[in-house]
Amino acid sequence: MNSSIALSVEDLSFSYGGKKALTQVNFKIQPGECTVLLGPNGAGKSTLFSLITRLYDTRDGSIELCGFDIKRQTLLALAKLGVVFQQTTLDMDLSVMQNLRYHTSLHGMGRKQAEQRIQQELERLHMYDRRFEKVRQLNGGHRRRVEIARALLHKPSVLLLDEPTVGLDVPSRLSIVEYVHQLAVEENLAVLWASHLIDEIYPDDHLIVLDKGQVKANGTVDEVLKITSTPTIKDAFYTLTQGGQG
């Protein structure tokens, strides 16, 4: 077990019936690092997330979270994981507080500890005053903030975000992007952020470009620019995905 690696994906392949969705995917993510998984629609990002979260079974290759194999040590591995899915997964008819309490109970947290953690996470996102409001009353940006707070309640080591800013206005998008980058550094959190939006990438980020189920580039922003001999991420992405959408 290598403790400096938060998430390790090795030789991962996956097919839906006869259709290949991922082919020999390899990468590693370290704590305190924000990794952007960039790929056009249909590149295999959501499939990869479903495999990391064990919604799908890993048949070829392996995935380890903080040294725990997702297939053999599922519960230990999942305990290290916080997830924000692409679709909202909050219960609209419950209040913010009730949604978060539900999550803390699923993670076995006692009442006192749960209240404390909920307060901490909501205050960081300036949402504590709105804790008794029903989720239905919140706008898209605020719902996303609640989902991020929820994903962090049990203090995970790895945070997965599957295109969390889709459908949000520009200010909400920017504030979430900034907050997550800040989290990675302050909390020493390993972040894997799936996106197809190039402006969400910071210069210090680690970048993985996925296209048609294959890793086309894996390195720092500078390294990817160097490999592709392009001046901008947009050009690099275009070169690597041969004109894929982005």
């Binding site: 079974d57 599922t74 230990l76 899915f85 679709q87 909050l90």
Partner: protein
């Protein structure tokens, strides 16, 4: 500590389901209206057409409304079980099922907790129905109202497990209409909920056999006997075995390495 984690998670799941049920007033009312219409309208009209012989657990001639009451309680639980499965499909489509599935607890335990939560709701509905029936002069011995609780729990679990199993096969919410036509209605009508077995036998041997082996019939008989303070061992074992089979199949259905989830491309 681990045990405490399991307890907190199970309570969290049950609380969420009960809270949703209590706050969704329309759901509560519509769940009651269906059996009450059957009781007040169908049974009242049918009373004259159907003569009932004295059969256990009844010790005297009874009105048709009295006969049909355990069947209608079964109906409440059958619909509730299917409603839970509908909500599982909805949760899966909407994504909230994912939050449950990625928490660090075994999947079988999460499914069992979901099932217990749904059963709790159906037991609540059944008691409210029994209270209304009591005012309509359908009254069982007081002990029956206690004995019926374990029977309701088992029958609720069995029908809920069936719903859970179905939800692992249903890809989209739209397909749920098929469940209504191919599962709920045949199960309900080919059972002892509306007519006793001997009456069915008089009209069709095939229907008689289908009704006899229908697990819903057994659940209804378990409830019927329990309401009169009696234990129907055959119905109990049959319902218990059906619950174990449905539950095991549902767990396999939701297992990422063996079940339907991969083929369906959703969780």
């Amino acid at each position: 500590m681990k045990l405490l984690h399991y307890w907190r998670a199970m309570w969290g799941i049950i609380w969420r389901e009960l809270w949703r049920f209590v706050t969704q007033r329309e759901r509560f009312i519509s769940a009651l209206v269906r059996p009450l219409v059957w009781l007040f309208v169908f049974a009242a009209g049918f009373r004259a057409a159907l003569g009932l012989a004295i059969t256990p657990p009844y010790e005297t001639y009874i009105l048709y409304e009295v006969y049909i009451t355990p069947g209608l309680i079964g109906m409440i639980q059958l619909f509730n079980g299917m409603q839970s499965s509908l909500s599982m499909v909805y949760d899966r489509e909407m994504g909230s099922m994912r939050i449950l599935m990625v928490c660090p607890l075994p999947r079988w335990f999460l499914l069992l907790s979901k099932l217990l939560a749904g059963t709790g709701v159906s037991v609540l509905q059944a008691y409210v129905f029994l209270a209304i029936a009591w005012f309509y002069d359908i009254q069982a011995p007081w002990q029956g109202y206690l004995w019926i609780l374990p029977a309701l729990l088992l029958s609720g679990l069995m029908l809920g497990a069936l719903g859970l199993l179905l939800s692992s096969f249903i890809k989209q919410l739209e397909n749920f209409a098929g469940v209504m036509n191919f599962v709920i209605f045949p199960m309900f009508f080919m059972s002892t909920a509306l007519y006793p077995l001997w009456k069915i036998k008089e009209s069709s041997a095939l229907l008689y056999n289908l009704a006899q082996y229908n697990p819903f019939s057994q659940a209804v008989e378990l409830i019927r006997f329990a309401l009169y303070g009696q234990f129907n061992q055959h119905a109990f074992i049959y319902t218990l075995v059906a619950f174990i089979v449905f539950m095991a199949a549902a767990i396999i259905g939701y297992n990422p390495s063996k079940g339907m989830m991969v083929r369906k491309g959703g969780a």
